[in-house]
């Protein structure tokens, strides 16, 4: 079995994001970037499946500018076998990303495609479902547990009401939740070895996919600030404030 894992380079989750003064976006210069957190879970799960002997090859793919390669190198350092970098500059909407992934799936013919359920930059939560639609494959979204069977996956999904279990036939798309597993760290020797693993570069334009934005970003602004609150001295003062000032209890 072959697993394709898609990873995205985003502003690190620990960074306090700042809006640019001219309203054109957020500040990305000199800001720490890293792999989108649930994409790390996707890579980890693929590696675990390979370690269990149920998968033969893991291909990590990213789509983005030159530096996006770092995310593929990281995936290679924790166990992916080879990498693909589809080069494209600027914002690529999930629809275009899924069309690019569709082209790669047509070529690579993986049995499974894994990725994070949502990117923490645009918070869209679309790409996996879109790719599943374009391929007419089943989709197992928000996965917190995956059980690989003979020709299917049993997937536990985190939904608003609790947990749901579905069975999807392979080939399938899985989007991963943060609770799926605990991503491992890459060891220094493995980081060095990863540099020798093959990483293929493809230009998005050569794939014949139109990556032009369909959604116009008119402006980006700071959300309204909450007015500063107060500290109360003790519980009885808190209860009095909630009762008499805020009138919420």
């Amino acid at each position: 079995m072959k697993i394709l894992v898609a990873v995205k380079r985003v502003i690190d989750y620990n960074v306090q994001v700042r809006v640019k003064e001219d309203g054109t976006g957020v500040v990305t210069d000199n800001v720490k970037m890293s792999t989108n957190p649930p994409d790390d879970n996707a890579v980890e799960e693929a590696v675990k499946i390979k370690e269990s002997g149920k998968a033969k090859e893991i291909v990590a793919i990213t789509i983005g500018e030159e530096k996006a390669q770092e995310t593929v190198r990281k995936a290679l350092a924790v166990g992916a076998d080879r990498g693909i970098h589809v080069k494209v500059d600027g914002v690529v909407e999930p629809l275009a990303v899924s069309k690019i992934l569709q082209k790669i799936v047509d070529k690579e013919k993986p049995d499974l495609v894994f990725m994070g359920k949502q990117a923490i930059d645009d918070d869209c939560n679309q790409t996996g479902q879109m790719l599943a639609a374009l391929l007419n494959w089943p989709q197992a979204t928000f996965a917190s547990q995956i059980n690989v069977k003979e020709s299917s996956l049993e997937v536990t999904r985190e939904v608003d009401e609790g947990l749901e279990t579905i069975e999807v036939n392979i080939p399938a798309i899985v989007t991963c939740d943060l609770r799926l597993n605990e991503p491992r760290y890459a060891s220094l020797p493995n980081i060095m070895k990863a540099k020798k693993k093959p990483l293929e570069q493809i230009n998005a334009s050569d794939l014949g996919v139109d990556t032009k934005a369909r959604i116009e970003q008119i402006k980006v602004e700071e959300p309204p600030k909450r007015k500063a609150g107060i500290k109360v001295a003790n519980v009885s003062e808190l209860v009095q404030k909630l009762k008499n000032e805020a009138k919420v209890i």
Partner: protein, 317 residues
């Protein structure tokens, strides 16, 4: 222009967020239709027809819609898509799972999780865990939109009498199968729509200590929330998680107990009307969004809080 809203329900009744989505959808255009896909779901179609803002209900009843499988829903929705300029649903796990599958087949770039309708093609949506708001304009002919339910008031449930039109089921998708659902039953209000939410974080230390939270929740008729740290540690189940990758709540009162206030958690609660933080670390970022902060050991503060609430009750009686 016409808007098609995909109803979320359990075959017996509409899920509450459908009413919030109706409010948002009718701001896009008044010609709002609801599509109910279900099994033995007549009661749901009838409820949908009673919402005053709804002009028509399309009801498709078939056993393939007993459980919500996005692949099955999609083929039926696509068959009706031609007649509409907008297809919308709630941005909860229901809509997040479903809408992109529809959008991709319609070759539309979806606008996710809108918090405001500026015009029929322009919307406000949070990005970066709500640390920035983006105004976006969709240039696609047909628009696929998910709505953050807590950003819109629920539409009234009764007073309307829209016609209900029956329609045919779409193709059944053979490669996905529902196995089971483990719903956590609770008599408490739903987290997404509760007026008061009390949440615990890593500071709770174990699941046993969440009883301190539930005692207060019982007293205040509040829903119980949690930070991701508390869910990851196994103190409480995933359906309680508030934050960027969990639920977004906007209660009148949000009480954060033993939660430090990572930006990912703030993304799920900082629009609450009144925020209370109880934390022994005076420097915890949660205090920066709290209207009332109490720097205290939660194991002392929570029993006192319950006691004070009991006192209040006896005075009121």
């Amino acid at each position: 222009m016409s808007v098609l809203l995909i109803a979320e329900h359990n075959n017996k009744e509409l899920r509450p967020f459908t009413y919030n989505a109706v409010s948002a959808a009718s701001k896009i255009d008044e010609d709002l239709h609801i599509l109910v896909l279900g099994n033995k779901s007549e009661a749901v179609a009838k409820s949908a027809s009673e919402i005053p803002n709804v002009k028509k209900v399309i009801h498709i009843d078939n056993e393939i819609y007993e459980n919500f499988i996005a692949e099955n829903y999609t083929s039926a929705i696509i068959k009706h898509a031609d007649a509409y300029s907008h297809i919308v649903c709630s941005a909860n796990t229901f809509g997040k799972n479903l809408m992109p599958r529809i959008a991709a087949l319609l070759d539309t770039s979806q606008v996710s999780d809108i918090i405001k309708v500026i015009s029929a093609d322009t919307f406000l949506r949070p990005i970066y865990a709500g640390n920035a708001f983006a105004t976006v304009k969709s240039n696609d002919k047909k628009k696929c939109i998910t709505i953050r339910p807590t950003s819109f008031e629920p539409a009234p449930a009764t007073g309307g009498s829209a016609e209900i039109v029956k329609s045919e089921a779409g193709e059944s998708f053979k490669n996905s199968k529902f196995v089971k659902r483990e719903e956590i039953k609770s008599d408490r209000p739903e987290l997404g729509t509760a007026r008061i939410v009390i949440s615990g974080g890593r500071g709770m230390q174990n699941s046993e200590n969440f009883k301190l939270i539930s005692a207060i929740a019982d007293k205040l008729n509040a829903a119980i929330g949690a930070s991701r740290a508390a869910v990851d540690a196994g103190y409480i189940t995933n359906d309680h998680q508030v934050g960027q990758t969990g639920k977004v709540v906007v209660p009148d009162l949000y009480i954060a107990v033993g939660i430090s206030g990572a930006i990912q958690h703030l993304a799920g609660m900082k629009e609450s009307k009144i925020i209370v933080a109880i934390n022994k670390d005076g420097e915890a970022p949660i205090f920066s969004v709290a209207d009332y902060g109490l720097e205290a050991d939660l194991f002392e503060a929570l029993p006192q809080f319950l006691e004070e609430l009991n006192k209040l009750n006896s005075i009121q009686k």
